[in-house]
Each structure stands twice: as structure tokens, then as C-alpha cells.
Amino acid sequence: QDASLTIESWRNDDLSIWQEKLIPAFEAKNPGIKVTFAPMAPTEYNSAVNAKLEAGTAGDLITCRPFDLSLAMFQKGQLAPLNDLDGIKNFSDTAKSAWTTDDGKTTFCVPMASVIHGFIYNKKAFEELKVEVPKTEDEFFALLDKIKADGNYIPLAMGTKDQWEAATMGYYNIGPNDWKGEEGRKALIAGTQKLTDADWVEPYKTLAKWKPYLGDGFEAQTYPDSQNLFTLGRAAIYPAGSWEIAPFKAQADFEMGAFPPPVKKAGDTCYISDHNDIGIGLNAKGKNPEAAKKFLAWVASPEFATLYANSLPGFFSLNSTAVKMEDPLAQEFVSWRQNCKPTIRPSAAIVGRGQPNLDLEMWRVSANVINGSETPEQAAAETQKGLDSWYKPAK
């Protein structure tokens, strides 16, 4: 019999991809199941979905934010466990970590994609200025100086108005090199490191040095402003997340390249932020659990992985099966996984679930540090203080 499924999502951006590619592919294989992709503005998503789940009007399939938000939904019994779903074994534990209970026993969302941080640059500008991609921090700043001296390009396209840019594209982007990726992150959770330790303060210090290279009035520069500055060719380097790849390709009329966050000294191990970002789960009170499970199994399949990763270059599949990607820039990003150690954002798991929210705190202080209204030490102390107020690491 016919079943119709609705996918709740915050990905308005992907509406046409779902409608034109993904859903037809699924429906072709599963006659009798109709799927609707119902995205909404990302800012409304959490609250709207929560309300709907509570009242029982949510769709069968719920797009999962990573880590604690989805975990909370699962704990409230709104998301069904998916341990026995066909295809769930296609994912590594790391891939599943964002949607698995703390004890590692139950997975409740099918991982869909992760995003990687780095820097995207304007190749044309680099050629004009005859500069090379930097490997170390010193090279990086020398490069910025050079661009600035030339005056044709804004060295770095980033603003602090929306705050999250400062943290996500700044602190989380370059920080892993200092706190040594997962090592530092786990130590933080274990309580053996503190945010006031040098490894965690260092990235703020680096960030503070970015200020002169940002555009005029960066304090009021919003995220779209930064995107536009770069794609309109007015800025040379864009501290990026891999999700920018597709839109940048569509908008920029110049060649782009990418480089990972520069290391302190040549030869240091490099770390990249490779963050699980999107999953998809099953509404525990959905009306068509069978059909929904079929769909989820399909999402877990390599077929979906290939389709998805190629339709949305920059959202990298978490599927263990290697995915062949066509986009060169996306390949560039993904290639870093080979040399560098990936890590997720430090504020995402476990230390991110209390009040004040560590993630939001880091947004705020990162912006403050770049604006110069706080010193790196103050910033670090504030975040640690917030964390201390509720987080008691298990001994």
C-alpha cells in the first residue's frame, strides 16, 4: 500500500537536490512510498521540530543535528534506536559518534555527512601576487602581509558580526593544530586539560593577529557579506567550511584552491576539523515506520552516499565505502584526511551539553578576541569558568 513520508529538515538549500535527484532515485526503487522533503529556515528548525514532535505532528523522518541536540531527542523517546537498521554497519564508530549514546551502545541517526574546515583561496589573486599556498603559520602571516601591502584584495574575508564565523571558521579551524585534535578534545572532556591551558589559548592568540587583515568594518560584516566579498573577487582568502564549495562554485567566476590550516613549524603533524554534521533519524511515533526504515536503509547505502556527496560537494559522506567525488575542490579538502588527523569540534560532544553552552560561549569570545575587546587569556578564562560552572569531569 502507499505510504507517504515527510522529511523534516533545516536544509532549505538542498530542496531542489532532494526533489530532483535523491527522492526520484529512491522512489524509483520503492514504488508505493512517496517522500516529501519539507525543509524550513534553519533558525526555526530546532524549536519547530521539537514542538511538532511533542504534539505528534512531526514527519516520519527527522534530520539530526549532531551530538547533544539529537541525543536529547532520543532520550525523550522521540527518535527511535536504529541499531538493527540495515546498512548501519556501513558506518565507522567515529562516523556514528555524533548520533550514539554516551555509552556507545545505541545509534539513533544514520550519519549523512561531515564538513571539513580549511581555507579557500582565490587562485587568480594568488597568481597575480605571485604567492604560494602557505604551509606554516609564519608563511601564512607573511602571505597576508603581502596581500595587504598590495592593496588590491582584502587578505581575509571574515566578519565578526554573526559571531559563529569567528569560532567556526577561526577557532575551530586553526585550533586543532594547537590542541592536537582528538587528543586535546578528549583530555578536555576528561578534565586533564583546561581551556586556559596554553594549547587552548594559543589559537586565540593567533586569531587576535587576524584583525589587521580583515576588511574595513569587519565588526559589522555578516556571514553573507564575507561570502560575497570572496566570491565577488574582492578578498583573497576565505576561512571556510567545506559546505561553501558548492555555492562558491556557482557564484565565483575565478578558480579556487584550498589549503588546510597551517601548522606552527614545518613538519608538525597537521590536524583538521572534520565534523560530523548531518544525520537522519526515525520519528519514534511516526505513522509509517516500515516505509521510513526502508528509506533510512537506503540513506545508509553507498548509492545514496555517492549521490549525495556529488550533489552537494563539501558535504562529505561518512559511509565507510569510499565515495568517488568529481569536484576537484571537494577532492582537495578530502585529501587532507590522508595526511592530517581529523577531529570534531571540541565544544560539540559532552562538554557542549550544559549551560552556558560552550559552543555559543566560544562564538562569543572568539568574536571578542578578533574585535580586540577581550584578550586571548580573558577569553579562555571565561569559557573555562562557564564550563566549570556545570561540568564535573568523571575522575
Binding site: 524549536s47 521539537n50 565578526t160 568594518g217 557579506d225 560539540a348 549551560q355 571578542n368
Partner: protein, 316 residues
């Protein structure tokens, strides 16, 4: 509601027959409003007395309120938001309402040409959705795209330009002024309607008495529209203390920079519905909502029981 069909004994010593019409007039509004608005809201505010413990809602009495005011971080956020909100309100009272009244006064000049056009034009911002208002003002004030700087350049004021929305000192004022820009239409419309109510002959008598122009406004019109001024003040108060969307669209849910534009509304929404990786905390949200409600209720009661009773109304 059973008491409404008996007359106040002090006013009419004579027992009147049941005045069912009062009930009929009140019933539809009362029912819809109670069922769709009040009951759900009570249901929500009730949460302020509960908290989530191990995924179970348990009654905790006033402990949420104690937490709100004792937890240094929550309390700091709250006082910061309250203070910002006061500034937000003061700016509206000082800028929006006088401008609105002035515009209405000018528009009500009899036989003014193009009055309809002006009125419509000035009201257009009020009709806009926040999405547009946020987008367009960010675009205008952006140092990058150059609208504001180049326009200020035209009048030789370029030096005075700054990324206002990005600076903690100026962001709140800027956002308030954007809100003023958007909402001037409301006091304007209300005052305009009130001015239309004043009988022409009274104004003519004033003309003959030599009370013209400004003094006519101050001495005749203003006292006669005082009840409406009262209304717009209280509406501004209520509106400002509930405001949220504009800050949200212009400055984001974090109401940056560094919380400098955080008002009670944004604090409440962030707390209640959560934001990004911060989970919504219904109980604390409801607690903040209750406190806000009490603040607004105090203001409205002050108005209803003290000010409104002092304002004289005139029948025309």
C-alpha cells in the same frame, strides 16, 4: 463571568433585569481568547514551577526563579537584557512616539495635498516582514557595500560613519532606531485616527481665539488625544518588552556583539527554544517568561489602574 449581568449596586440602586447583552458581547472574544491563547499560555507558564529531572518533569516550586536570580551567569544575562530593554524602550518613547505624533499632526492638517500618499508611504515599513527589514538595513549599514558611507559622503559626513551594528557601544541604539523606523507608522496611525475624532468646530473656535499652529496642537489637540498617547505608550511598552524578531534578524539570536543588543525577548527565545547547539530549556524559559510577564503586567496595571483613570476622556 456570572457577576457581569448584575449592575454595580453603587451606581444603580434599582435592580435591573439581567443584562444578557453584555454577556453576548463579551462571550465570543472571551471564549476564543481563553481557549486558544490563555489556556496554552498558562500551560506554558506553569512550567516555570517544574523542572526536568532525569527526563521527568517534577514540581520544584520557586526554585527556578531562585536559580534565575542567584546563578551569576543567568542573573547577569537577565539584568543585562532588562537594562538593554529599558534603553530600547526609552529610545522608542523618545524617538518613535514623538515622530509618530508629529507626523500624524502634520498629516491631519486639513486639505493637505498628497496626504494619502505620505501616509501610505510612511506606513510601508511597518508592513514589511522582518526578513526584509533585517536584510536591507544590514545592507545599508554595511561598511562593505557602501550605501551608508557613500550617502554620508554626499553630505560630507563620511568621517562619522562606523560599523555601528558591529560595535557594542552603538549596536543597541542602531537596532532601536531601525525598529523605530519600522514602527513609526503605528503611533502615527493611532494618533491620526484620534485627531480625526476632534470636532472641526472646536478647532475653528481655537483659530478664532488666536490659538493656531503649534499652540493649537499643544493646548487643544494634545489634551484631547491624551488617551491615545496613553495607549501608544503602553503599546510601545508592551511591544518593546516583548520585542524579539528585529534583534533576531538583524543581530542574530545571540544578540551580539557580546550581548549588547540582548533584550528580554531574545533572551527568552534563546532560553526557551534553544539555539544552535544550545538546547531549549522550557522550564527556565517559562521562568523568564513569567518574570517578563510580571514586569509587563506591572506596567500595564499601573497604566490601567492609575494612569488611565486619571486621563480624562471627552466625548465628541
Amino acid at each position: 463571568m456570572s457577576d457581569i449581568d448584575t449592575a454595580d449596586p453603587e451606581i444603580a440602586p434599582i435592580k435591573r433585569p439581567a443584562r444578557w447583552h453584555i454577556l453576548v458581547f463579551l462571550a465570543p472574544a472571551f471564549l476564543v481568547y481563553t481557549a486558544v491563547m490563555i489556556l496554552p499560555l498558562i500551560e506554558t507558564l506553569r512550567l516555570s514551577l517544574y523542572n526536568l529531572v532525569d527526563n521527568q518533569t517534577v514540581f520544584v516550586g520557586l526554585s527556578n526563579f531562585i536559580t534565575l536570580f542567584s546563578d551569576p551567569r543567568l542573573a547577569a544575562n537577565f539584568w543585562n537584557a532588562l537594562w538593554n530593554n529599558l534603553i530600547f524602550f526609552v529610545i522608542h518613547m523618545l524617538v518613535q512616539n514623538p515622530i509618530g505624533v508629529a507626523l500624524a499632526a502634520m498629516l491631519s492638517v486639513p486639505k493637505l495635498r498628497f496626504a494619502t500618499f505620505y501616509r501610505t508611504a510612511i506606513f510601508v515599513p511597518t508592513l514589511l516582514s522582518f526578513v526584509i527589514v533585517g536584510f536591507i538595513w544590514k545592507l545599508i549599514l554595511s561598511p562593505i557595500w557602501g550605501i551608508a558611507p557613500s550617502m554620508m559622503d554626499l553630505v560630507g559626513l563620511k568621517w562619522a560613519f562606523a560599523p555601528w551594528l558591529g560595535r557594542p557601544e552603538s549596536a543597541l541604539i542602531t537596532v532601536s532606531l531601525i525598529s523605530v523606523w519600522q514602527y513609526v507608522g503605528i503611533p502615527m496611525m493611532l494618533i491620526y485616527a484620534a485627531l480625526l475624532n476632534i470636532p472641526e468646530e472646536v478647532l475653528e473656535a481655537a483659530e478664532c481665539d488666536g490659538i493656531t499652529g503649534w499652540s493649537q496642537f499643544w493646548k487643544i489637540k494634545l489634551p484631547l488625544i491624551l488617551p491615545s498617547i496613553g495607549i501608544i505608550s503602553i503599546l510601545t511598552f508592551v511591544g518593546n518588552f516583548n520585542a524579539f524578531d528585529l534583534v533576531y534578524t538583524v543581530q542574530g539570536a545571540l544578540a551580539g556583539p557580546d550581548g549588547s543588543t540582548d533584550i528580554l525577548g531574545t533572551l527568552l527565545y534563546r532560553t526557551f527554544f534553544g539555539f544552535q547547539n544550545q538546547m531549549g530549556d522550557r522550564s527556565m524559559g517559562a521562568t523568564i517568561a513569567t518574570v517578563m510577564f510580571l514586569i509587563i503586567l506591572a506596567g500595564v496595571s499601573l497604566y490601567l489602574f492609575v494612569i488611565q483613570r486619571r486621563i480624562r476622556r471627552y466625548q465628541f
